[in-house]
Symmetry: C2
Subunit: 301 residues, 2 copies
C-alpha cells in the first residue's frame, strides 16, 4: 500500500493520519460515515500540462466538427483555435470560450455527450506523453484512493472540470462512482417527447466549481465537511482551508509539480490554474506540501 510513495514527510503524514482516524480507542477516531476525502482532478489526479485534458478534448472535437462542416474553419472563434492562433483567441476572450464550449459540450443529451467522450478516450492520446488519457493519471494517487477506501473512507472528486466529462472515466480510472464526482456543470433542458423524457445540455453555466464554489458544492452534494482534501492550485485553497478548519483530525495536501524529469515543473506562472497563495501560505494554513520529485517513486499509472 502506497508503494509509489517514497518514505518522507508526505507519506508519513498520510500514514499517520489514516492510522489516527481509524484507531477505534484513540483520541482522533472518526466513524466511517464521516471519513470523507475530496480530491481535485486536473493536476491532482491526472496531468494538466500542456493544457487540461478537457481542453484537449474540446480542441480535438472542434477539429472533428470542422472536418464535417467546412464553413467552421473560416468562422471565429473556431478559425483561431484550428490555426493555433492564441493571440486572437485571447483577444476574443470569454465569449470565444463560451462559443467553443457551446459547440462541443451542449445541444445534445447527456447520453450522447457521454458517447462522444467515450469514443475520444478510446482513441486519443496525450500530445506530450504519447499515451492514452486514462494512463496520464497519477499512480501514487490511485494507490492513495484505494488505500483510503480500504480504510472505509468515501472518496470524491471535487474539480473545476466538467462533471459530465469526468464521470465518463471516474469509475474506471479512479474507482470513483459517478455520483461521487462534483464538478462544473451546465444547465439542462427537460424535454417531454410524449413517450420519452430526455434532457438537453445547454450552453449556459450552472456552476463553475472552483475556489469558494468548491466549498458550496461540497455542502450541496456531500453534506459533510471532509476530513482530508488534496489539491494542487489556488483554486483548491478554499477547499483545503475549509477541511483544515473543522474540528478533530484533518489533513490538507497540496501537490507541487516540481519534477522536470518525469512531468512538467510549474506553479505560479501556469496561466490556466496558477499555484501562488496556496504555496506561499501552506505553512500558515497547516497544509502539507507534496513534492512530486521527492515524494513520488512513480508518476503515471
Amino acid at each position: 500500500m502506497l508503494d509509489s510513495w517514497n518514505d518522507g514527510p508526505a507519506k508519513s503524514a498520510l500514514v499517520d493520519f489514516i492510522s489516527r482516524v481509524t484507531t477505534e480507542d484513540g483520541p482522533d477516531y472518526v466513524p466511517p460515515a464521516e471519513r470523507i476525502a475530496t480530491f481535485d482532478n486536473d493536476g491532482t489526479l491526472w496531468c494538466e500540462q500542456p493544457l487540461q485534458v478537457q481542453v484537449l478534448f474540446l480542441a480535438d472535437r472542434i477539429k472533428a466538427l470542422a472536418a464535417r462542416d467546412t464553413s467552421m474553419a473560416s468562422r471565429q472563434p473556431f478559425k483561431a483555435l484550428l490555426e493555433h492562433d492564441h493571440a486572437t483567441l485571447r483577444a476574443l476572450g470569454k465569449q470565444a470560450i463560451e462559443e467553443l464550449f457551446a459547440a462541443t459540450h451542449a445541444g445534445m443529451s447527456p447520453e450522447a455527450f457521454e458517447g462522444i467522450v467515450q469514443d475520444w478516450f478510446a482513441s486519443a492520446s496525450h500530445p506530450k506523453f504519447e499515451r492514452r488519457y486514462d494512463r496520464v493519471t497519477y499512480k501514487p494517487q490511485v494507490e492513495l484512493l484505494n488505500c483510503l477506501r480500504e480504510h472505509a473512507f468515501t472518496t470524491f472528486i471535487v474539480s473545476g472540470g466538467g462533471v459530465d466529462f469526468m464521470r465518463v472515466i471516474s469509475e474506471t480510472a479512479y474507482g470513483i462512482a459517478r455520483h461521487q464526482v462534483v464538478g462544473s456543470s451546465g444547465k439542462l433542458r427537460f424535454v417531454d417527447k410524449g413517450q420519452r423524457i430526455e434532457l438537453t445540455k445547454l450552453a449556459e453555466l450552472n456552476s463553475f466549481d472552483d475556489r469558494e464554489t468548491k466549498v458550496h458544492n461540497i455542502a450541496l452534494h456531500i453534506g459533510r465537511r471532509p476530513i482530508l482534501a488534496f489539491g494542487n492550485s489556488d483554486g483548491d485553497l478554499a477547499m483545503l482551508r475549509y477541511v483544515k478548519s473543522g474540528p478533530g483530525a484533518r489533513l490538507a495536501l497540496l501537490l507541487h509539480h516540481d519534477d522536470g524529469q518525469r512531468e512538467v515543473p510549474y506553479d505560479r506562472d501556469f496561466r490556466l490554474s496558477p499555484l501562488r497563495e496556496a504555496l506561499d501560505r501552506a505553512g500558515e494554513y497547516g497544509i502539507t506540501v507534496v513534492s512530486m520529485k521527492r515524494d513520488w517513486r512513480a508518476v503515471f499509472v
Copy 2:
C-alpha cells in the same frame, strides 16, 4: 426479505424486476454501477400526514423561538402560525412561507442547523401517531431499500424536502448516506474568519427539488438515469417517466395512500402534494401502483 409486503402484483413486480436485472446471463442484466434506485421521501418513505415532517419541525421551531423572543407572537406571519390561523397564513401567501423558512432554516451554519434538527428528532413526536419521527418511516420501504442494496443497487432519496433536514436522519432511518440524498436546497454564504472557514445558510432558494427539477438534479447529482424510482405524488411523475423512458428493464412505482385503518387515505385533494395525473395516467406510463392497504402487511417500522 420483503416480509412486510403481501403477495400480489406489486411484490411480484419488485421481485421479478430485481431478479431480471441481476441475472448475469439474462437479457435484462444491468451491471451493478448502473443499478440506481431513487425514492421520494415525504409520503413515499415516511408519513406526510397531516403535514410533512419538516413543516411540523418548522412549527415547533417557531414555538421554541417565540418562547425566547416574546415579540414574535405579535408579528406576522409568526402570530398566524402560533395561533393556527390558517386563513391568515394562506392570505399572507408565499412571502409568509419564505419568512417562516428564513427564521427557522437560515442565518446559521449547516452544522448548527443539524444540531437543532437532531435535538428535535430526539425529543419530538408525531401528532397523530404519537411516536418519534424516526418511527413514522414505512417498514416495507426500509425492507425494499435493504433488499435493493443487497442486490448491489445504489439507493438515493430524491425529494422536495430540504436536503440538510433529511440528511440528519437518512443514515439511521434508511441506511442512505448523506451524499446520496438529493433535495431542495438554499444558497450558502462562504465566510472567511481567518483561521476558520464557515458556511452560513441563506434564506434564498437554490433549488426546489420537485417535478422536472427532480430530473435535473438526478443528472447533476447522480449522473445516471435510474432504473427504478418510487414516488407518491404528481411531484414525482417527471422522475417516474424519466426512469421508464430509458432503455432496458425499468420499474417505476407509485404508492397510493388508500389505507384509512392504518394510515391516512388521501390522493387528489391533499393540497400540499396532490396525486392526480400520476394516478390517472399510471397505466399509460407503465407505472406500477402500490396499494398501501392491499400490498403492505405492515406500515410503520
